[in-house]
Symmetry: C2
Subunit: 164 residues, 2 copies
DNA sequence: CTTGACTCTATAGCCTGCTATAGGCTTTAT
DNA sequence: ATAAAGCCTATAGCAGGCTATAGAGTCAAG
C-alpha cells in the first residue's frame, strides 16, 4: 500500500484534487491559506499539503460569506473567532446588516447614475450631434451629473480612505 | 512687472491654483497629464507647468466622462481623437450605450444579490440562531446564493479576466 | 537673505482578490 | 530510468484611479 493509497483511505487529498473538486484554483487555495481562511489537515513528509473533507465545508463557508459580501478579512476574522470557541453571531449579523445598507446605497446611486446616462443618450438621439468638444458630449450633461463618480474609481465597498 | 504678473494677465496659472479652482489634487493633475487627459499650455523657464483657462473645460470634460462611466483610457482616447480633428461621435455613443447595458446588468445583479441577503437576514430574525459553524450562517444560505460573487472581488466594470 | 510654500521628477504604494512566474523538489506513469 | 505532472516557497503583477514619498530646485514675502 503506497502512502498515497493510505491517504486516500482516510480521505486525505492533495491540493490539486481539492482544487478540482471545489473549482478553486490551486494558487487561490494557497492564497486562502495565507489569509487564514483554510488550512491543511497536515503535510506529507515531503511537505505536500493534505486536506481532509472538512476543507470543502470550509470553502463553502468562504464562498457563501463572499456571496453575502464579506471581505476575506472579515471572513478570516469570523473563522478565527469560531476557532477560539466563540460564536460571533451578533457581529456577523451586524456585518450583514451593514452590507445590506451599503447595497441599498449603491443601488440608489447606480439607479440615479443610470438615469442620467439614459437621459444623455436620449438627448443625443433627440437632438442629434451638437456643438462642443465631442459631439455635444459636454453639453449633453448638466452640471448635476458631475458627482463623486460612484465613490471614486468605479469601486464600491472599498472603505473610503481619502483625506478631506 | 514680474513674470508671474505677466502670466496672470493672460490668465496663466500654476498647477496649485488649477488644483484649488478645480478641486482636483495637484498630484492627480500631474497623473492626468501622464495619462494624456490634460496638458499645460506651457512651462516657465524653470519648468513649472502653466495652464490657461481651457484646462478647466477639459477637466470638466474628464469629470463628466467619468460620470458617464468611461475609463481614463477611454477618455484619453476620445481626447486624442479630437486633437487629431476627428469627432468620434459614433464610437462615443457606442461606448455610452455599452455602459448603459453594463449598468443595467449590474443593477440586476445587485438587486438579486440584495434580495438574497435580505432573505438570509430575515431568516435569521425569524428562526434565530441555528446549528452550524457560525450561527447557522451556512444553513441560512441556500446553494443558489453561491454565485460568482458579483464578478469576483466586489468590483464591477473590471474586464473579466479569469480563465474558465 | 532666509524661510517656508510651492514646484519638479521619479518611483512606489494603496485597495482587493486573485493570478502568474521563477526555480526547485517529489511523485506518478511509462 | 526518465520524463511529465504535480507540488513547494517566495515574490511580483494586474485592474483602476489615484495618493504618497524622496530628494531637489524655485519663488515670494518679511
Amino acid at each position: 500500500m503506497t502512502p498515497a493509497e493510505r491517504d486516500a483511505l482516510v480521505s486525505l487529498r492533495k491540493i490539486g484534487e481539492v482544487a478540482k473538486r471545489s473549482g478553486i484554483a490551486v494558487e487561490t487555495l494557497r492564497f486562502y491559506e495565507s489569509r487564514g481562511l483554510i488550512e491543511p489537515a497536515g503535510r506529507t513528509a515531503s511537505g505536500y499539503r493534505l486536506y481532509d473533507d472538512s476543507v470543502f465545508e470550509r470553502l463553502a463557508f468562504v464562498k457563501k460569506s463572499q456571496a453575502v459580501g464579506f471581505t476575506l478579512d472579515q471572513i478570516a476574522w469570523i473563522i478565527a473567532e469560531a476557532r477560539e470557541g466563540r460564536r460571533p453571531c451578533v457581529e456577523v449579523r451586524q456585518m450583514a446588516r451593514q452590507r445590506l445598507d451599503e447595497l441599498d446605497e449603491k443601488l440608489t446611486e447606480l439607479r440615479r447614475y443610470r438615469r442620467d446616462l439614459k437621459r444623455t443618450l436620449d438627448a443625443w438621439d433627440r437632438e442629434g450631434v451638437k456643438e462642443g468638444m465631442i459631439c455635444g458630449f459636454i453639453e449633453g450633461l448638466d452640471a448635476a451629473v458631475v458627482r463623486p463618480v460612484l465613490g471614486r474609481a468605479g469601486r464600491w465597498r472599498t472603505s473610503e480612505r481619502r483625506k478631506p
